[in-house]
């Protein structure tokens, strides 16, 4: 039974998109449709009628809706995971990257201690949103322990002292050879 509402929806979408009107043209500008989509300006009654009566305008509306949803899903981010690679098992661990290549962890040895720097790749699809919203982030190891917690600075980085007794490489090996970068839900 669960599939039927989906069939209904698909059929309804096909019906609306299959209509053709001779001499049809775009009845509403992108700006008008986009404003209606993002809720900043509702359509007037006449605009609403135009959208209903012009299948081509409705197809444009659909395209803008799809693009808007695709952009939103690209910007959405719920965390990135990474593994300790075979090549990075040497005692001198300098850098780790998440599988999506959106985050890097840098390790700097300093006066017998370690510092860890989390940095966001500029080309990450959600980079602009994170820089704007400045959410609280954390890095956890494979055992779930917090390695670093903080907010990005203007360079898209967050730095802290390495919190464990063990050096980074053996520490990660001990805890599943994995790590993750996550937003912290407050």
């Amino acid at each position: 039974m669960k599939t039927l509402p989906e069939t209904d929806r698909k059929l309804r979408a096909k019906l609306l998109l299959a209509r053709r009107v001779e001499g049809d043209r775009l009845m509403l500008a992108d700006a008008v449709l986009s404003a209606a989509l993002d809720g900043s300006r509702a359509l007037s009654a006449n605009e609403r009628a135009a959208l209903d009566q012009s299948p081509l305008t409705l197809r444009r509306f659909r395209q803008l809706s799809i693009q808007r949803r695709a952009a939103a899903s690209r910007e959405a981010w719920n965390g990135s995971r990474g593994m300790l690679r075979a090549a990075s098992t040497s005692a001198e661990l300098e850098e780790l990257a998440t599988d999506d290549r959106c985050w890097a962890l840098h390790f700097v040895a300093q006066d017998g201690a370690w510092r860890i720097i989390l940095s966001l790749a500029a080309e990450a699809p959600f980079a602009a949103r994170l820089m704007r919203e400045q959410p609280l982030l954390r890095v956890i190891d494979g055992g779930g322990a917090i390695v670093l917690q903080g907010r990005l600075d203007a360079d898209g980085e967050c730095e802290a002292a390495w919190p464990f007794e063990t050096a980074p490489a053996p520490h990660f090996q001990q805890f599943g050879a994995a790590f993750a970068v996550e937003p912290v839900d407050l």
Binding site: L4, T7, L15, A36, L56, R59, R60
Partner: protein
């Protein structure tokens, strides 16, 4: 042949390297068009010969019958669907030749003007030659009329596709002009590619005598680097070098205004070039509309609701989002009353090599609260399945298994459904089309 620039050959000049033109949203401008056209011609002759001989004899009566033709072609297309030609990619979106042909046939049904033009052409020929389709060579005449119809239709469809994809209006004539320019560029690139042999013509295109390999010839790597004046001079001098007048210099008025607007030509060349680059580098953007998701319907409904609320003085209860289904007011017939399986139905299903209890099981698999079932409450199950078959195809992930013929894994065919419903095929077709019209009326909020 300068009126027949259907597909551009790649600048390298290898025949198998046909690529065609890509513009935002267009589906019918690439390498597969020739195959789509041939397949439609073949299946049209099949459909017209089999079902419509009597109608062809009275071409004016054809005008009322696009449904029968469309179904006949669609059926023939599905039957050839597994052949190499039909299964081949027809464009860079990955649509197969068969899918493109099917989509175009269904477009025809939604655009009666194009069907009527075809019927008028058949009628005119009939007045001239009598039943020409029966005479020697008559098939070729009929095929030509079919080709003409689809040639017009594909540009109409792609003009709309382009408009929907990028939000700029576009006419079929403009699509035609884009294709002419793209083909002209391909020709110029081919001429430039053999500069030794074509020195005189290249000189005419560049507007200066040729001493050495000119830098323009070396630098033209894409259509975006082609200059409008080269196109104009190439067309102007084509007769001198090729024998036929160039496309911008025929007696036809088609490109009369384009001929005098080099800046417009330049902009169109740049647009084709930009999009080729964009679509080559950023696959995901031009595959965007491939998603079958109907999520945009949610946006549509929301926008309509917001508009209705803002346009009235207070929140309008009748337009409540939860109450968006404008189905029939009367309740659907009690499912239980249909539950008992009629022995005759079992016999019919068995005769079609469907499971004996097909009707009962298929009925049980419908959600009686669903929008479709409520809207089509007075229609039989076979009519409802015929609606899905027409609108969504024989196979769709969302169909419950009980609706499918185990032999094919797809919905029963129209013939099977007609037998199940104990009506003739034309009657089922008529009821199906009426049901689609009713659904469409209900789907529009």
């Amino acid at each position: 042949m300068w009126h027949d620039f259907s597909v551009r050959q790649k600048a390298g000049g290898h025949d198998q390297d046909e690529e065609g033109m890509r513009l935002p949203g267009t589906r019918y401008q690439e390498h597969g068009w020739e195959q789509v056209r041939k397949l439609l011609g073949q299946c049209s002759l099949h459909a017209l010969a089999r079902t419509d001989l009597a109608l062809l004899a009275d071409p004016e009566a054809l005008a009322g019958m696009p449904g029968e033709y469309v179904d006949g072609v669609a059926e023939a297309l599905r039957a050839t669907g597994r052949s190499a030609r039909a299964g081949a990619d027809g464009n860079s979106y990955g649509d197969s030749v068969c899918e493109l042909a099917l989509a175009l046939v269904y477009e025809l049904q939604a655009r009666p003007a194009d069907w009527n033009a075809f019927c008028a052409a058949v009628a005119a020929e009939y007045r001239r030659l009598g039943a020409f389709w029966l005479a020697a060579g008559g098939e070729a005449i009929l095929r030509k009329k079919v080709n003409d119809m689809y040639a017009v239709l594909r540009d109409k469809v792609d003009a709309d596709n382009y408009t929907a994809a990028c939000g700029r209006g576009c006419s079929p004539n403009k699509i035609y002009a884009y294709r002419m320019l793209d083909t002209a560029y391909g020709e110029i690139a081919r001429i430039f590619g053999a500069w030794r042999e074509n020195a005189a013509q290249i000189g005419a295109i560049l507007g200066q005598p040729l001493d050495a390999v000119p830098i323009e010839v070396r630098q033209m790597r894409s259509i975006g680097a082609c200059k409008a004046e080269w196109i104009l001079r190439w067309s102007e001098t084509l007769e001198r070098f090729g024998g036929a007048p160039g496309p911008l210099h025929t007696r036809s008025k088609r490109f009369a205004s384009l001929k005098n607007s080099p800046e417009k030509i330049q902009a169109m060349l740049a647009e084709i070039g930009d999009y080729e680059e964009l679509s080559a580098n950023r696959d995901q953007d031009w595959l965007l509309d491939a998603g079958e998701a109907a999520d945009w319907l949610d946006d549509y409904q929301r926008v309509l609701n917001e508009s209705a609320e803002a346009a009235s003085d207070g929140p309008d209860q009748l337009q409540d989002a939860a109450d968006d289904d404008s189905g029939p007011a009367e309740p659907p017939p009690d499912a239980a009353s249909e539950e008992a399986e009629d022995p005759a139905a079992i016999e019919i299903a068995a005769g079609l090599s469907l499971p004996p209890r097909f009707m009962q099981l298929a009925r049980g698999a419908q959600d009686n609260g669903s929008w479709t079932v409520r809207t089509l409450a007075s229609d039989s199950l076979p009519v409802r399945l015929a609606v899905y078959l027409k609108m969504m195809g024989a196979a769709d992930d969302s169909y419950p298994g009980e609706w499918l013929d185990p032999a094919t894994g797809e919905l029963p065919t129209m013939q099977q459904l007609a037998v199940l419903d104990q009506v003739s095929l034309p009657t089922l077709r008529k009821r199906r089309d009426a049901a689609i019209a009713a659904l469409l009326a209900a789907a529009r909020p």
